[in-house]
Symmetry: C2
Subunit: 213 residues, 2 copies
Amino acid sequence: MDEKIISARTLRRLPVYLHYLNSIQDHCRNISATAISEEFGLNDVQVRKDLNAVSGTGRPKTGYVVTELIAQIESVLDCRTESKTVLVGAGNLGKALLSYEGFRDFGLNIIAAFDNSPTICGTLVNGKPVLPLTDLETVCREKHIQLGIITVPASQAQEICDRLAACGITAIWNFAPTILRVPAGVLVENENLASSLAILSKHLRAEKGGAPT
Amino acid sequence: MDEKIISARTLRRLPVYLHYLNSIQDHCRNISATAISEEFGLNDVQVRKDLNAVSGTGRPKTGYVVTELIAQIESVLDCRTESKTVLVGAGNLGKALLSYEGFRDFGLNIIAAFDNSPTICGTLVNGKPVLPLTDLETVCREKHIQLGIITVPASQAQEICDRLAACGITAIWNFAPTILRVPAGVLVENENLASSLAILSKHLRAEKGGAPT
DNA sequence: TCCTGATCGTTAAACTTTTCACAATTGGAA
DNA sequence: TTCCAATTGTGAAAAGTTTAACGATCAGGA
Ligand SMILES: NC(=O)c1ccc[n+]([C@@H]2O[C@H](COP(=O)([O-])OP(=O)(O)OC[C@H]3O[C@@H](n4cnc5c(N)ncnc54)[C@H](O)[C@@H]3O)[C@@H](O)[C@H]2O)c1
Ligand SMILES: NC(=O)c1ccc[n+]([C@@H]2O[C@H](COP(=O)([O-])OP(=O)(O)OC[C@H]3O[C@@H](n4cnc5c(N)ncnc54)[C@H](O)[C@@H]3O)[C@@H](O)[C@H]2O)c1
């Protein structure tokens, strides 16, 4: 294994590069770090360091071979290996995520959704079954689920989280605005949309206040 | 104005604190930075510095008065001032955002949504009208819209972005997986869900590979 | 063949964020 | 009253991240 330590910051930028590379691969054979940096308004050395962390096959004058770079990023992000996933809470947000195919590119495979509302259970969303919550443990254990998405109301999130962790799930993507307590070894990624909103509000305010941002 | 410079990192943590403070305000009069730090698994000095940036009214031995702290964070985040907002692209994700009331706490007020699909236009989602895209400019100008949410397919995002910017909107919340080019003075906040997914995938992979994370 | 300029990769510097260490304050118990 | 333990606030160290500077490489044209 020629693994280098990839910083979290770099890791977060890789999907962005990957999406861009995919979009240009049909009409570009090579791409330079400089060109990517311009595309994203980043510093070119930063991009070069990011790419160097996953690739190392950049060549002076020509840059990187697009398809090669895609493969290397996909390898680091492990896009080819499917992450077997369940989603709990098939409400508005849950259904949107279930319907979205864009995460397939990153290996996400939602096997099933769970909900405790009888009106939703039994339906299919984007071809994926919504099952009663009581089946959660059985399905997770039988299908060897690795990743759990939580889109239930905040008040229910910790309980769901505990149950997921108890099934051996070690990665949780939490959309509820709560902090979850998990056993060691389980990673929670909180999708905190309010944080982004705070940044935007601040910008609007700064503008009105007079100080340029 | 006794404004201090608040770092972006701090700004992102404030909504998290705020949500927690709101949840405890009924049964707690005071709260210490230490207690908050334990709740979130952060360093206590970091929390103290964050709070100090917005408050400065912490007292030794007792900590902060919860209601006071809430008011101060709300003031910094400018939660009381409504951000007049439009959403473009009333698809799965757009409808989920339209239906969500949680952002009201942060001053978000979605006035209307726009879509170019005739089947969606004219409907109401959570009491909010979905209008034809052709009305975008008129509404934005007449209602003095400040913030735009983009939930259209990636291929359409730049065009929508341009139109929003042309209406004088200076803050854009982009959910499409593209980088948007904007005039100076316009702030784009990209909600990149794939980045979080990358972190989770990496964790799963590291686990299987043997190296503990 | 030999330049030239684009590009890479790396080391060092600048900057940011987090953590540590410690003095200062204060409410309440002895 | 006096002391103690909890807690704040802050300057300095440490860790992490971004930017700058520069030599090395190499494709393609003179
Ligand atoms: N919709 C958004 O745009 C948005 C944005 C940010 C955060 N969130 C958060 O995401 C979560 C879901 O939001 P939403 O808008 O989809 O809400 P929603 O009410 O539409 O959906 C919640 C779903 O969870 C189900 N549910 C409730 N308790 C459950 C339990 N114990 N087990 C299984 N299922 C249960 C409900 O039946 C419902 O279908 C909330 O925590 C919300 O704060 C939503
Ligand atoms: N659904 C998710 O969970 C999710 C997650 C991450 C990112 N995204 C991104 O969010 C965006 C929307 O995703 P979605 O799942 O809601 O897709 P969707 O297809 O359900 O919705 C897109 C909507 O935009 C409308 N639209 C298309 N072109 C338009 C235009 N030029 N002007 C106005 N409206 C237009 C369509 O009519 C449709 O209603 C996409 O860019 C997607 O990549 C979605």
